[in-house]
Assembly symmetry: C2
Homo-oligomer: 293 residues x 2
DNA sequence: CATATTCATAAAGGAATTTTATTACTGAAA
DNA sequence: TTTCAGTAATAAAATTCCTTTATGAATATG
């Protein structure tokens, strides 16, 4: 049985006429006659009683019509649904991102995306690096945004931008007017750092270790806003990603570039290798990769 | 979208392999590749991520698989259902018949039919002549069995057999040993006749009228069994169709042929003109027309 | 590094479907 | 009753579509 035949059956039944049905279907009448005959043969039952003057459903045809019509409608709905996904008029994008990115870079991007594609749902999950990779691996998310991804055959990474660390100092601090500070100079100050396990912290620990230092932070916090609060209270200097600083504090607190070495954190897109994305996710990814910060 | 493509989709998904799926579908692998590509194009979305080493559903493919599988199953169920009807393994036959026929000739016939086709349901409705025709006309029944059908463009009739009227007399009646009786001789007896409106009664009234007589029955009954009861009580002579007498009373009561004129009632099959019958109804009709009483 | 396996592609062949042209039938009108 | 108009069925030709054959490209395995 072919769907085309079923479609023809429904139209012939509706019009009680092969000629008019053929018109609507953009077919010639003999083609339609053949289609109905084939459908009847594949079902083994007559669907229409027809002569040159009238076409009428048989009892069995009458019984089958609503059933087949419903099934046809469901098929069409599936197709329509798929096409809406293809046209970005329906769908969901699932992302896992580092909290710093999820809180700063992504919101305006997602806002622009929603503006363009209001019917697409975006699910954003903030997680630490390792969980991002895991989520991408089991396809719990369409893609992830992380940092410092170790090479993994299952994962494919695309560099997005580099996040440079800056030192955030209290307004009253003697360094407040400086432009840049060397990393080893910071060791003398009470430091406010992110928890161990965060990608920002690993980067800082590694940099200090490379310089022969061991950091003992004055405060360890989970959220960047806490770090900012501690700085504002004059309790120490925080080392935070520049994206977060630019977006969240504006001119409120002074921040200094860190030199020698510059602390860079590459922010990368994480994709499951060899897997295509749903159209909506692809569109968002494209906006992300072509994005000028 | 074609059902064939959907079928292929399901099989490829099940096997995660074009080659093995093609095997199962009795196709070559390139043909299958083309089918899946076409399906993807008609839907506008990728269903599989594939390389030469692995075939895996995309997220959208994974979402669509159960839906399409269900729809495919429903289609197959419709086809299977139709084929079972064609093979007389499922279906219903609806008949409207005169009460005398419904009570006597049909039961053994239906019994034989059910023996041969146990899964077919037979719905038998007993009605008077006019209602039989109406039921056939609006296709409330597949066919009818009546008598004395006036020509009607919408109806087609097939003679089945002739029902001959006989006089049923009480065992103690002086005529009990006779073989035949003339119709005009019956007028002298107390007669037990069916209600006006029944086809048996019309036949009798007409016959008497032709002979210049007006019948005034001693009893008018609705059911033949009532008539038989009255005869058994010695209250009169009943004029009943021979089929009914043979089948229901056996040797219990004597009955006489009626001569000059013989009262015949043609029993005919009534069909809606130009309409085909469902397979089950056709089978029962065939048994009926080829039946030796 | 070679090999075997697997999916993709292109061209040729074959199958199925559609169109064109015609016939046969039916109901309505002359 | 006959004719006419309209309709579905049929047959053959043309076309479209699909499948196969042959081959290529990619990748994991030994």
């Amino acid at each position: 049985m072919h769907l085309r035949q079923v479609r023809s059956f429904v139209v012939v039944a509706r019009f009680s006429s092969f000629t008019r049905a053929a018109d609507l279907l953009n077919l010639t009448q003999p083609a339609l006659t053949v289609q109905i005959r084939q459908l009847e043969q594949s079902l083994g039952v007559k669907l229409f009683d027809r002569n040159t003057r009238a076409v009428e459903l048989t009892r069995i045809g009458r019984e089958m019509l609503p059933v087949l019509e419903r099934l046809l409608g469901e098929f069409d709905a599936v197709v329509a649904n798929a096409r809406e996904m293809a046209n970005l008029r329906y769908g969901t994008v699932r992302i896992a991102a580092l909290p710093s990115v999820a809180a700063t870079v992504l919101p305006p991007l997602i806002a622009r995306f929603k503006e363009r594609h209001p019917q697409i749902r975006v699910v954003l999950r903030d997680s630490v690096g390792e969980r991002i990779n895991a989520a991408v691996r089991d396809e719990a998310v369409d893609f992830g945004i992380g940092s410092d991804i170790e090479p993994d055959a299952e994962l494919e990474t695309v560099p997005l931008f580099e996040d440079v660390m800056r030192a955030v100092v209290p307004a009253a601090h003697p360094l407040a007017d400086a432009v840049e500070i060397r990393l080893d100079r910071l060791i003398e100050e009470p430091l406010i750092l992110m928890d161990k396990g965060s990608s920002v912290r690993s980067l800082i620990d590694r940099a200090f270790a490379d310089g022969g230092h061991l950091v003992v932070p004055a405060y360890e916090v989970t959220y960047m806003s806490t770090a900012v609060g501690l700085v504002r209270a004059g309790l120490g200097i925080a080392i935070l990603p520049s994206t977060a600083i630019e977006l969240r504090m504006e001119a409120e607190l002074p921040s200094l570039a860190i030199g020698n070495p510059v602390l860079r954190r590459p922010i990368t897109l994480v994709l499951k290798a060899g897997r295509s994305l749903p159209p909506a996710a692809e569109a968002l990814r494209d906006m992300l990769t072509s994005w000028e910060a």
